[in-house]
């Protein structure tokens, strides 16, 4: 778990120890019984009511490949590519990260820091999109209001490429 948190903090660029106001995101990558398995590419972002991107939290892809070759398949995260990815230079500071194994992965966001700093009060959705080589693609949305009046635990579930997606809002 320590290692997962550490990875997430790299992806989210947030120190894992702090427990102030913010968002705790957890994303489950399911273990799949398939002949040829590749870790999925995953994008996590906060979406405005009009589906534009308020903030990118993470994009997990083959960052270690030489000369940014891992970016060739980023377009398969087609919703994220349309809304945000195609306008970016890679790697994206504090957003790009390595692909993750099956399991539950955490991304913590502190209020006032990084992606949350510019978030105005309003309706948003946490969006997680996954695309896997020789596999499928799936997108899961968790709508939420910001800022929250009280602690909230929101969740949604994918059916094939994603497992549980949880959003804990700490006011």
């Amino acid at each position: 778990m320590r290692k997962l948190l550490l990875t997430a903090s790299v992806a989210g660029a947030i120190a894992p120890a702090a427990q102030g106001a913010g968002l705790d995101v957890s994303v489950e990558i399911p273990r799949l019984d398939v002949a040829e398995y590749h870790r999925p590419y995953v994008a996590i972002w906060i979406e405005n009511a009009d589906q534009s991107v308020a903030a990118d939290l993470a994009v997990w892809y083959d960052v270690a490949k030489k000369e940014n070759e891992g970016t060739e398949w980023l377009k398969d995260l087609r919703q994220w590519w349309r809304r945000s990815g195609r306008g970016q230079q890679f790697p994206v500071d504090g957003v790009s990260g390595a692909t993750k194994p099956a399991g539950t992965h955490a991304v913590r966001l502190e209020e006032g820091a990084g992606a949350l700093a510019g978030l105005k009060p309003g309706n948003y959705a946490l969006v997680v999109e996954a695309a896997r080589e020789v596999g499928g693609r799936e997108l899961v949305r968790v709508p939420f209001q910001w800022p929250a009046q009280k602690a909230e635990r929101l969740a949604a579930r994918g059916e094939h490429e994603l497992g549980a997606v949880e959003l804990n809002i700490v006011p």
Binding site: E72, K75, Q79, R86
Partner: protein
């Protein structure tokens, strides 16, 4: 009868017949080798939306009524014109000529949108020779003088300008510069930013001016696996624009044709203009 149903019905009236005839002639002039009947022209790109760097695409070029199946003839690539995002000309590589389709590769060295087109600019002449036998010539205007005898009877010359194209984007889409010549589609909605269930607007222009009242036909690919063509008939407004809401993801063929008398070739009585575009609509 709904407006849509009325328009569909109208496609089987003489108006449809005349339109068919004009397409027939246009495809004859554009699509050598000669076809015995009307056939449609199209390009089929391997990808339309790409990420990464220095990506490659391959493009098939064919003449066939069934979009996008190669089952009739290859589309000649003599008029291949590829505009890179910065407007410079990009070069096709590995050009191959097949029985049912021609192909070429293209490396996307720049980020942005490429306009990949085959532009056919030529003349079509018909006459009767000294024995009264019908003769004809298709090709470049420069060849007319040699092909047509001085004593040609009933000589009819028409000019033909056709554009068969598609759009491909690496990274962030850029706005393709309008061509300003012939019949063209000027994107209002970006042609690599199309999604099922959403509406897209395109402007048709003739020599850079909005083409009002132009009939535009949008045909989804993949007809082999359904019973109906499911074409979407549209007509441009005064501003030359049409709007289409994509019923499902997939490839679509966009066709329009017309004619006018703005010829630039001596003795040509009219100018035929054609447009055939291929776009890909993505799933949400």
């Amino acid at each position: 009868m709904t407006r849509h149903a009325a328009r569909l019905a109208s496609r089987f009236t003489p108006r449809f017949a005349s339109r068919f005839a004009s397409r027939f002639a246009a495809s004859l002039a554009l699509a050598l080798p000669l076809a015995a009947q009307a056939h449609d022209l199209w390009l089929l790109p391997s990808s339309t939306v790409l990420s990464g760097q220095d990506a490659w695409i391959t493009v098939d070029a064919a003449v066939s009524n069934d979009k996008f199946y190669f089952n009739h003839a290859p589309l000649r690539l003599d008029g291949l014109a590829i505009a890179a995002p910065d407007g410079s000309a990009a070069q096709a590589e590995n050009i191959g000529n097949g029985k049912l389709r021609n192909t070429f590769d293209l490396q996307l060295r720049q980020s942005g949108t490429y306009r990949v087109a085959v532009v056919n600019d030529g003349v079509f002449a018909r006459w009767k020779d000294a024995d009264g036998k019908p003769r004809r010539y298709f090709g470049k205007p420069e060849g007319l003088a040699q092909a047509v005898p001085a004593k040609a009877q009933d000589l009819q010359i028409s000019q033909s300008l056709g554009r068969i194209e598609t759009f491909v984007t690496l990274g962030k889409p850029s706005a393709p510069a309008p061509v300003g010549k012939g019949l063209e589609l000027v994107p209002v909605t970006h042609p690599n930013d199309l999604y099922a269930g959403e509406a897209a607007t395109f402007e048709f222009r003739i020599d850079g001016q909005p083409a009002a009242g132009l009939e535009v036909n949008v045909v989804p690919g993949g007809a082999r696996y359904r019973d109906k063509v499911d074409e979407i008939p549209l007509t441009t407004g005064k501003d030359g624009r049409v709007q289409v809401t994509w019923p499902q993801p997939g490839l679509y063929w966009i066709e329009a044709s017309t004619e006018d008398d703005k010829t630039t070739v001596a003795r040509a009585s009219k100018r035929r203009l054609g447009y055939s575009g291929t776009v890909e609509v993505l799933a949400q």
